[in-house]
Each structure stands twice: as structure tokens, then as C-alpha cells.
Amino acid sequence: MSTPESYIPILIQLAFSIGFVALALYLSQLLGPKKKTKQKLEVFECGIESQGDARFPVSVKYFLSAILFVLFDVEVIFFYPYAVNFRELGWEGFVAVLTFVGFFLAGFIYVWKKGALEWER
């Protein structure tokens, strides 16, 4: 069943896929035409000339809102299985969901009081 030999097909597949990728890369480099002029070697970014450093401060406002949205979105997803099993879970399930929502609500109030939801600041 799980003898070391039974993994040999996986190894063969691994070797084949790595070999194919390496071969394709090597062949395209070998056979493709090359023209190394200065303009060809320049960094190409959507036709816009690149300027400055990539490391500068970026406003995180949008990111913050997006990640908070994802958090509460996930919370809502958990309601679907609960809604389907509402009757079977009974009071115990209700208390569990209430606890879960309570923790999320605490987090929401904290985020709100902290001012993370204010765009103009």
C-alpha cells in the first residue's frame, strides 16, 4: 500500500515536468533571435517610463477598508451553514453563534472607535 516504491510514479512525473520546463526554457533561449540594443534592455512597464524607487509610503486606507470588509464577509459566510442547520442545533447552537457574533461585534466597535472607518483623516 504505502511502500516507498509506490511513490515512484510521482517522482517520474516530477522529473518529467521539471525536465520539460528546463528544456523548453533552454531551447527558446537557444533558438530565439536576440537583438541587444539599449532600448531593448530597458525595464518595460506598460509603456510608461519607470521612474524613482519602488519603496515609498503608500496610503493604506483602501487596504484597511478592504481587509475589514473581508473579515466581516467571512463572518457572514458562517451564517449560511448555521441557517441551514438552525433547527437541529437548537439553543446550544444559538448560544455558540451569539458568542461568535459577540466577539465580532466587539472587534467592530473597537475598529470603529479607533477611527479605522473614517476615510477623511
Binding site: S2, E92, A96, A106, I109, Y110, K113, K114
Partner: protein, 460 residues
């Protein structure tokens, strides 16, 4: 078990109180919450209160605070209290830092109570995720950012490896409960061979935990992360994470007692190389904080020696060692934080404090003797017990550890060379504050427990 709930709800409350309160009152609130948690652990261990009725919804046996876990939980709580009280004010507004430290402590408590691999995993995650944030809590410090990112990436990798190992263990035994794994293994021992899945699983799970306690080959993140993080967080990582990690590791290995001779084979070299590499690299460090990071690596090596023996009876040894390591390291981190400047982080910062501030000098000496394991402090008792316990199963490891301890003295004692040097006639300046009371308590306890080790029997 109620302690986890107390710490969690306390931290939640602190988040909200911290929105518009002063730092000082919050530290007091945090200390009282942790004190309450400590009392509840004590009361539960003595059977004064029984809260099992509230936790009937937890599947039986997933979290069990056995006597060992209770002692370690008490140590963790006390250490968290010391760190939060000794460490400096938070520079940015908001007290999320203390609350996050307490959330992280919840994870540590969960880890040591875990009797199920999934609970252990949850504990590790709850311990680590606040720390990724805390490592970068000084947002303008570029080294802090580096530390945070590095810790996050390394932590994610180690967690993935741990999970893979847990999967293998489940595949090999069909269960994730420690006691059932032990049952399957004793059965397998009867037939003379352990399933290959269990062996692979144990190696991978161990790698995940060794990452957390920063044993050599998996230690590369720790000096950089400790150096970059704010001092209070570095102390928290060096103390709480290591105590929780080792206690959880020891609890996990109780399930693998039948495989003990097998896992000693590869854990002994890891332990030996951790002791030697940690101590030798620490010799070369300029920065005192980086030296403390390497010293914590070498302590991980000593502690690994303990894990090599079949760990069922003398858990007390582990507890005493973790206590002495925690007390000593907390004081050293506090003193480093007090005297270090942004330019100077070498041992030169301690120049002449024997004259300017005798009390700090005394604390420095006691704490150094403790971490180095010199008699008259608890460090000696801890190291002596640990080496004696480990000697029958890991003789060579203990001999190497003794060599390592000898090396460690040369870098631990570096501050002593400058301690009594004076540049000019300086005036002693001591303002007695709450921090001094705390420091006095910690320092005295190191000496008293070292002089009267009988007291340890009473504690444990």
C-alpha cells in the same frame, strides 16, 4: 482552564479601556487581570474552585490542565506580569500592545493545556499571530518592520511544516489525541516496528516546534527578530514563547514515550549543536541584545537535553529551569532597555552603574549569575537538576552542555568588566518607583530560591 477565559476577556476589556485611558492605570489593570488569572490557576489546582461544569461543550480530553500544565501556566502568568510591569512605556498612542501581549499569552496557555494536535496548533497560532504584529509595533522603525516580516514568513513556514507533520501523525495512528497516539505506539512497540508515517510525522511536528523555540538549524530568524523588535516584545518572545513552546513540546512527547530511543538519536545531535553554536555565536556579538538572543538559543539546547529522556516523572525539573531562565532573562532585558541608547547597544552601556545606581548593578549581577548557572542563585539549582536528570540517557550531550556553559560565562560576564569603571565622580541617583519594587521582588526571589531550594518543592 478558567485562566484562559480570564486573560482573554481581560485583554478584550483592556482594548476598550485603552482607547481613552492613561498608560499607568492600564498597566495596573493588566497586572490585576493576570493576578486574578494566577489565583484562579492556583485555586483550580488545589480544587478550591471547579469550573468543569461550564466547559461541558469542550470535547472531553482535548484540553486538560494536568498538574504540570498548571505549574507552567502559573509561571507563564507570573512572567507576563513581570514583563508588562518592568517594560517601558509604549511610545505610540493606544494600548493595543498590552492587550495583544495578553492575547498571545492566551495562546501560550492553550498550548500547554493541549492534549490534542489541533488544539496545540490553535495555541501556536494564537501565540504567534499577535507577535507578528507586536514585532513591528514601532511602525517607524525600519528594523522593527524587518523583524515583523521575517518573523511572519518564518512562522508561516514552520506552521505549515507542523501541520504536515500532524497530518502524517493522523495518517499513521488515526487519531489526534495524545493518549490515543500513545496507545497505538505502545501497540506498535509490541511488534517491534513503528509506522514510517509516525516517524515522519514526529520529525515534522518537532521541526515546527523547534522553529518556535529557536533551536539550531532553525534559529536563523531569532537574533534578527529579537534585535529588530522593541525590547519589551523581544523579552516576551524570549521568555513566554520559549516557556510555552518547551512545555507544549514536553507534553507532546509524553505521547511518544515508546519511540524515545528512536527520537533521541536525532534530537541529541540537535541539542548538542544548539548548545555549541548558540554559545560560540554569542561570543562574537557586539550588541548586548543580540547576545541575549544567542544565549536564549543556547538555553534551548540545554532544555532539549531534558526532552531526550522519557519525560513522565520529573516535570518539576523542566518547571524550575524555565522559571529560572525566565526570571534572569526578564531582568537582563529590562536593564538593557533602561541603559541602551539608539547609538550604543554594546556592554559599554553598563559602564559605572555600580556607582551611579547600585541597585541596578546588583540586579544585573544576580540575573547574570542566574542565567549562567552559578551557585547561590536559582540558575544553579535549575541547571544542576536538569543535567542530573538528563545524564543517564544523554551523557555526551550533558558533557557538551557543560563545555557550553563554561563558554557562556565569558560572554555573560562581559558587563562585569565595565560595571565598576568610573569616568568621573558621579552621584548615585535612585528614584524609588513601582518598577523598583517589582525588580527587587524578582531579584530577591532569584537569590532566595537559590539559597533555599527547599522552597521549590513547596511551589511545585
Amino acid at each position: 482552564m478558567i485562566a484562559i477565559a480570564i486573560v482573554f476577556f481581560g485583554a478584550l476589556a483592556l482594548l476598550f479601556i485603552g482607547l481613552n485611558k492613561e498608560e499607568k492605570s492600564l498597566k495596573l489593570a493588566a497586572a490585576s487581570i493576570l493576578g486574578l488569572a494566577g489565583i484562579s490557576i492556583f485555586a483550580e489546582s488545589k480544587g478550591i474552585i471547579n469550573v468543569d461544569a461550564f466547559f461541558t461543550w469542550v470535547p472531553a480530553g482535548m484540553i486538560t490542565f494536568n498538574p504540570t500544565a498548571q505549574v507552567i501556566a502559573a509561571i507563564l502568568t507570573v512572567m507576563a506580569m513581570i514583563i508588562i510591569n518592568l517594560m517601558p512605556a509604549v511610545s505610540r498612542k493606544g494600548m493595543d500592545v498590552i492587550a495583544l501581549m495578553m492575547f498571545s499569552l492566551c495562546g501560550g496557555l492553550l498550548m500547554i493545556g493541549a492534549q490534542h494536535l489541533v488544539v496545540l496548533f490553535l495555541g501556536i497560532e494564537i501565540l504567534s499571530i499577535p507577535l507578528f504584529v507586536l514585532a513591528g509595533s514601532e511602525k517607524d522603525d525600519i528594523y522593527g518592520n524587518e523583524a515583523s516580516l521575517k518573523y511572519f514568513l518564518m512562522g508561516a513556514f514552520s506552521t505549515a511544516i507542523f501541520l504536515l507533520g500532524a497530518t502524517f501523525l493522523y495518517g499513521g495512528s488515526g487519531t489526534m489525541y495524545y493518549h490515543e497516539i500513545l496507545l497505538r505506539l505502545s501497540f506498535a512497540e509490541h511488534f517491534g516496528e513503528f509506522p514510517i508515517l509516525m516517524q515522519t510525522g514526529l520529525v515534522l511536528v518537532s521541526v515546527g516546534l523547534l522553529f518556535k523555540v529557536s533551536a539550531v538549524p532553525f534559529h536563523f530568524w531569532s537574533p534578527d527578530v529579537y534585535e529588530g523588535s522593541p525590547n519589551r516584545i523581544a523579552a516576551f518572545m524570549a521568555i513566554i514563547v520559549k516557556i510555552a513552546g518547551f512545555a507544549a513540546f514536553a507534553q507532546l512527547l509524553t505521547a511518544f514515550v515508546p519511540m524515545q530511543t528512536w527520537y533521541s538519536n536525532w534530537m541529541l545531535p540537535i541539542s548538542a549543536i544548539t548548545v555549541l553554536a548558540g554559545n560560540i555565536m554569542a561570543l562574537a556579538q557586539q550588541s548586548y541584545k543580540r547576545m541575549l538572543a544567542y544565549s536564549s538559543i543556547s538555553h534551548a539546547g540545554y532544555l532539549l537535553l531534558f526532552l531526550l529522556q522519557p519525560i513522565q516523572e520529573n516535570f518539576q525539573v523542566l518547571g524550575v529551569y524555565l522559571l529560572s531562565y525566565g526570571l534572569g532573562t526578564a531582568v537582563l532585558f529590562y536593564l538593557f532597555d533602561k541603559y541602551a541608547t539608539s547609538q550604543d547597544k554594546t556592554v559599554g552601556i553598563f559602564t559605572g552603574i555600580a556607582y551611579t545606581n547600585r541597585f541596578d548593578a546588583m540586579a544585573l549581577i544576580v540575573a547574570t549569575l542566574t542565567v549562567a548557572g552559578i551557585p547561590s542563585t536559582i540558575g544553579f539549582i535549575a541547571k544542576y537538576q536538569l543535567f542530573t536528570a538528563a545524564f543517564p540517557t544523554a551523557m555526551w550531550g550533558v558533557l557538551l552542555a557543560l563545555v557550553g556553559s563554561a563558554i557562556s560565562i565569558s560572554y555573560y560576564f562581559k558587563p562585569f568588566r565595565v560595571l565598576f569603571k568610573t569616568e568621573s565622580d558621579v552621584q548615585p541617583s535612585i528614584h524609588f518607583t513601582w518598577k523598583y519594587v517589582c525588580l527587587l521582588g524578582v531579584t530577591l526571589s532569584m537569590v532566595i530560591l537559590g539559597l533555599f531550594p527547599v522552597l521549590l518543592n513547596w511551589i511545585f
